[in-house]
Symmetry: C2
Subunit: 204 residues, 2 copies
C-alpha cells in the first residue's frame, strides 16, 4: 500500500479533508505521518485524534524556509518510511530544491487562488484587493519555484460585493477540500501524464 | 440618449454582440460609430451591414500604439459626437494616457483571460501553455496600463485535455459575448461604484 505524508503548519483543515477522504475510501493509501514545522500546530492534535502518527521537526530560525539540517532530517524521514506522495497542506515553508530532486516522487501543494494569479501569501486578500469577480484554488505539483509547478486541478468560486476576507476564505476552502483529495487520488492512481508544464488528466 | 463608440481592428465578433444586444433592447443607447485602425477590418463591413456608421483612422506606422495626431483625431471625433462610453472590441492598440484623461468617460475593454492572469497578446495560448484548468474572460475599465483597470465582470470556462487553441478561443468567446454587453449595460445605467480598484456592481 502506498504511503502519504502530509506537511502542516497551522489548523490543518486540508489535512483533515485528506484523512477523511482516505477513511472514506476515495483512494487506497495509508496516511503514514503528519509532519509539522510548528509544534503548536492545531493540525498535530487533530491528526493524533484521527489516529495518525505525527512528527514535529524544528525548521531552523529563518521564517519561510527550512534549515539544511531540518530539510535533511525530513528527507531522511520520508525516504525511510518509503513515502509515495507528500501533500503540503498549509505548510508555510519553501521546500528546498535539493529535497525535491532527491525525493523524486510527487509533492503536491494547494494554493487559494487560480494560479498564476495571486501567488504567495494572503492570496485571498490579494484577490479581494485586486477586485477580481472570480477566484478559486489550485492543486499543483511542487517545483523549485513558489506556487508555480504543473497544475493538476483548479476550482473557481465567485467573489461577492459583500465578501469579507473570512467569507471568501471559507468559500474557497470548501472547494479546496473537494479538489485536494481528488488530486491526490489522480496522482496516486497515475491517472495523468505531464506534457511540458501541462498535466493531462486521464481518469477513465 | 447616450451614445456608444466601438473601436475595432479585426473580425468584430464582440462588436456584433454589442450591436445585437442594443437592438434587442438590453440597454438604451445608440451605437453611434465604429472606429477602426485597420481599413480592411471585417468588422467595418459588418457594422455597415448592421446600419452603423464607420470611420477608419490611420493610426500611424508603429504597431500596437496610436500616433499623437491619430489619437487627437479620434479624441476629437468622440468628443464632437458626445460619446458616453467607448467599448474596445479587439482594438489592437494601446489607448494613450492623455486620451483617457481628456475623454474622462468610461472606456471598457474585454480580455480573453481571467485577469490578472495572462495579460497581453495571445491570452488563450498563454493559458494553454501554462496548463491552467480554468480560464475565462474579463471586462474592465481601461486605465493607463495594459489589461489592468478595475474589473467589471468576469466569466470562467474550463480547459479540456483535448482543447486546441481554436476550441478554447471559441469557448471563451461565447462568454465574452455574454458579459461584454451586460457590462456595458451596467456602466451605462450607472449600476456601479468604484472603491479603490474594486468595481462594486449594484444591479437591483
Amino acid at each position: 500500500m502506498k504511503k502519504i505524508a502530509i506537511f502542516v503548519s497551522g489548523r490543518g483543515s486540508n489535512m483533515v479533508s485528506i484523512i477523511k477522504a482516505q477513511k472514506n475510501g476515495l483512494f487506497s493509501a495509508k496516511i503514514d505521518v503528519v509532519i509539522s514545522d510548528n509544534k503548536d500546530a492545531e493540525a498535530l492534535k487533530k491528526a493524533t485524534r484521527m489516529g495518525i502518527e505525527t512528527k514535529y521537526i524544528y525548521p531552523g530560525d529563518k521564517k519561510g524556509t527550512i534549515s539544511k539540517s531540518a530539510s535533511n532530517l525530513i528527507l531522511d524521514t520520508v525516504l525511510k518510511r518509503d513515502i509515495s506522495l507528500i501533500a503540503l497542506a498549509g505548510f508555510m515553508r519553501i521546500i528546498k530544491r535539493s529535497f525535491i530532486k532527491t525525493f523524486k516522487r510527487p509533492i503536491l501543494n494547494i494554493h487559494p487562488s487560480l494560479l498564476p494569479s495571486f501567488p504567495g501569501l494572503d492570496a485571498q486578500r490579494q484577490a479581494l484587493d485586486y477586485g477580481v469577480k472570480i477566484t478559486g484554488c489550485t492543486v499543483h505539483f511542487v517545483d523549485e519555484y513558489m506556487d508555480h509547478g504543473p497544475i493538476i486541478l483548479q476550482a473557481s468560486v465567485p467573489v461577492f460585493n459583500n465578501d469579507t476576507l473570512e467569507s471568501l476564505k471559507q468559500r474557497i476552502l470548501k472547494m479546496e477540500h473537494k479538489i485536494y483529495p481528488e488530486a491526490i487520488r489522480l496522482v496516486l492512481e497515475n491517472k495523468y501524464r505531464i506534457e511540458g508544464r501541462k498535466v493531462v488528466v486521464e481518469d477513465t
